[in-house]
Amino acid sequence: MKTVSPDGYLRLKARELNQVPLRHLISNVDDGSRVEEAGGCAETTLSGYTEWISPVEPSLSIGWDWEWRTLPGKSGAVRLGLPRTNVLLVSETSEPFPWEDSLQLLANYIDAIEWQGVAVNSAFRSGTNSTYNN
């Protein structure tokens, strides 16, 4: 069983991360989100955060900011910046990655899963409670 280290990190290997189911905890829209009208066009600035956890202890916790992007032929939420977490990824030989490298690996992990629908829906409707299984 994994434990939280005295330094507060939950150390995981990347392959272990891929075996952890994630459950949506909470998402919200930033206070500053707004629709601006300029020159006859409406520009939406919509952003927020989302939080996910693993349903088994010790709990993995990971959250990140998102922003709504409107691109030609495609609109949706994208991750913004690096995640916030209690996880420190380690190599197969249990050597911890530098913190920023670990966060980037976790960001790559986030980008490979489907979180947008649950997060955005929940941000506007409290009570959504979904589970993402790898």
Partner: protein
């Protein structure tokens, strides 16, 4: 701005009273915390002769920010009141870890009106840097604090090395969490990179 720090016997009585009045305005009147505290003053069981206080004052010597430091080897807020925020791990009892609590930096002349208003003032960064300096002088290597979830975002934006100890929990409708702050030099705020495409 100046930041005063010290234990009660090292601070003038009027400074401590100003801190308690300021805390009442922030935590009871502004944030609506239901605390068992005297009218107009805010104090709890963790305010005692060994508590280290910080008080930020403006040019008119009005208190514009407060914080409190406690060693985790004695009773403290997270360990005694919110241990569940550690996600099953034992709360730290370590001379290298101090708790930062009752952190507030509200500029009442320009209230923001949001849930993170207690951290909204530009005073917040200076106050936190001073708290880190004071804690480090006590031998601390890390701080732990009970905070609203959004604080982790703000700390990162300001270049502090902060991370959660466990998942946030919804308490009284608000997500709060236990936050580690490493006592290392603050890095300049980095631009919010748009990594995902």
């Amino acid at each position: 701005m100046e930041v005063l720090s010290g234990r009660p016997h090292e601070l003038a009585p009027q400074i401590l009273e100003s801190v308690e009045r300021y805390r009442y305005k922030v935590f009871v009147e502004m944030l609506g915390w239901e605390l068992d505290t005297p009218p107009g003053l805010e104090r709890d069981q963790f305010d005692h002769a060994g508590t280290l206080y910080l008080a930020a004052r403006d040019a008119q010597q009005e208190v514009v920010g407060t914080a409190r430091l406690l060693p985790t080897t004695s009773p403290y807020l997270l360990g005694d009141v919110f241990p569940q925020l550690m996600g099953g791990a034992p709360p730290p009892r370590d001379p290298l870890v101090w708790e930062l609590s009752r952190f507030a930096a509200v500029d009442f002349s320009t209230p923001t009106g949001n849930a993170l208003g207690q951290f909204s003032s530009p005073v917040a960064v200076g106050l936190l840097e001073k708290a880190i300096e004071v804690a480090a002088a006590q031998g601390a290597q890390r701080l732990i604090t009970v905070s609203p979830l959004g604080i982790e975002r703000l700390l990162r934006r300001e270049g502090f090395r902060a991370r959660r100890a466990a998942p946030p929990q919804i308490i009284d409708g608000h997500p709060i969490f236990a936050c580690w702050i490493d006592l290392i030099a603050r890095c300049p705020p980095e631009p919010r990179a748009h990594i995902a495409q």
